[in-house]
Amino acid sequence: MTATEEPPGEIELLDVAPARNLPLERVETVKRHRSWTATRGSTGHRLITIGLPVLATLVVAGAVFGLPVIEGRLLTRIVALTVILWGLDVQLGLGGQLSLGHGAFAGAGAYTAAVTMGVHGWPFPLALVAAAVVGLAAGALVGLPSLRIQGQYLAMITLGTAVAFPYIIRRFAWFTGGPDGPRIDYQFVPPGWMNLTVSHYSRWTHLIVCVVALIAYFVVRWVVKGPLGRRIRAVADNPAAATAFGIRVGMVRVYTVSLSSSVAAVGGALLLFETPAVSADSFAVFFSLSLYAAAVFGGIGTLVGSFLGALLLIAAPWAVSKMGLKIEPELIGGVVLVVFTLVARDGVVGLLRPWFREWVDVVDTPPTEA
């Protein structure tokens, strides 16, 4: 085997592994976990990284048919928020840049979809592309200062964007429709074979949102694993070394914010699919801070954590109200942010990771035969 070939991929049960001549660290792994082992880059590993998201999407998409309409719509909202959080994670987890203004990017996407679909009657795929482009442009604008500044200074700029967003919407009311947005007549009519009554049309919308989310997931994953993702991670890791190797650090930071805001804008547009109305105040600064709290809760730097974070944003207030308790969602978000920052910085995913590895252990090289 030449030096750069991928090792042959395999998933195998390691119950018999101690009989082999394994390096010490691998033997310890086997003793500890008795898990299924996937070699990074192998077919088995690919099956996990591609198959699991597809399976998860099927489960989430199918769940809506077993839920009452209101809870089903909340699930659609969770999926849309997951996409917004993936956007935030590109900047926060991948690029290592704090953002306190992603609510504004999501709002830009939602308003773009509202204007294109609601006012101009564009089909929804085009409206989503428009939202992505507007998000990309808004991110480039906000990210431009990162050519010169970084860290908390850039975070302040994103915070300023979130604060300014509702006022920008009001200022350009002739185009945006104002704080309550334009009137939206767009309706997602399901195909006849689905046999859905009007009151259950939201199930069709849910399926569309799930498919878009799955596409967004693979696009984000593709970028993260590709040349741009490598540059973004290199800059986050060691900007001086990245510069010394010919990477334009400032430009990569601009790309990071642009990509991140574009994904968040698509997520914001998906929110409109669930409720065909927009409000500038719902994308104000508190929404941005809630997104940050959700990202910390789920686990920064993990795409699965984004789903868990979105679940917190929607399910926690729902559960609290179901139990008849009077606890404000803001309080839940605040407590979660403090507690997780103090005791579980890797979020719920970080807490679950050891348990997951009891079942599937990802290693760099396949076990060697005796």
Binding site: A3, T4, R231, A234, A240, G246, T365
Partner: protein
């Protein structure tokens, strides 16, 4: 003159001057070692050459062209391969990605994939230990492995000048021998121009053709290593 010429360079961090008119020549095909105690300005000199620091006065030129106004990322593309001090790998990236990310930035994406593979294979032949670690995140590599990756990463860019900042720092003796062999091979077999900063005098003198000793931001001694007396460095290198 072809190669690297540093001429009367002065560098300061704010109001604190660190280099006081340093001049140094690294002729094409030579291996020059800069030695000196901690804090005398060795890394500052290399960062200035790499374009990460801007000198207050003086000039750095490479192959006869001044590098004034040439950014660090552009210097890398001109053929200046820098291996910074410490384990300056990208820890989130795997070994393979560490190599890929710099190859992509050197404009090699346009080249045929086979050629890139050939470059990679040639470099990995020098560091066989890395071949089994290609999918491991670089943050999980040992100190010696990370240092080998850092050198390999500079080499895959096809540099015309390799700049190494203390490659033996914190590395176990067996790996130091491997690194020494690799540097010697690069210099002798390929004729690569190398600028080495090192505190391990014997290591430096075994490898280099010429040396320069820095003290308190000034070059206090230069010469051919073949004529150098290692014991004479004791005082200059003492902390």
């Amino acid at each position: 003159m072809s190669g690297l010429v540093v001429d009367d360079v002065r560098v300061a961090y704010g109001r604190t001057e660190v280099l006081f008119g340093v001049s140094l020549e690294v002729p094409d095909g030579s291996l020059v070692c800069v030695m000196g105690r901690n804090g005398v300005g060795k890394t500052t000199l290399l960062n200035t050459i790499a374009g990460l620091l801007k000198p207050q006065s003086g000039s750095v030129s490479f192959d006869g062209s001044s590098l004034a106004g040439v950014g660090a990322h552009q210097r890398a593309r001109l053929g200046l391969g820098y291996v910074p001090q410490g384990h300056a790998v990208f820890p989130q990236l795997t070994t393979r990605e560490n190599l890929q990310v710099v190859m992509e930035r050197q404009g090699r994406r346009a080249r045929a994939a086979s050629l890139r593979q050939q470059d990679l294979d040639e470099v990995l032949d020098l560091f066989p230990a890395l071949t089994t670690l290609m999918n491991r995140p670089a943050g999980l590599l040992s100190g010696g492995q990370a240092k080998q990756l850092a050198i390999a990463r500079a080499l895959v860019t096809g540099p015309r000048l390799l700049v190494l900042d203390e490659p033996t720092e914190g590395i176990q003796p067996s790996i130091i021998h491997e690194i020494e062999d690799t540097i010697a091979k690069l210099h002798a077999a390929i004729g690569m121009t190398i600028l080495l900063v090192e505190q391990y005098v014997e290591f430096a003198l075994r490898l280099a053709d010429r040396y320069a000793v820095l003290d308190a931001g000034r070059v206090v001694s230069t010469g051919l290593t073949s004529e150098a007396d290692p014991s004479a460095f004791a005082e200059l290198m003492a902390v």
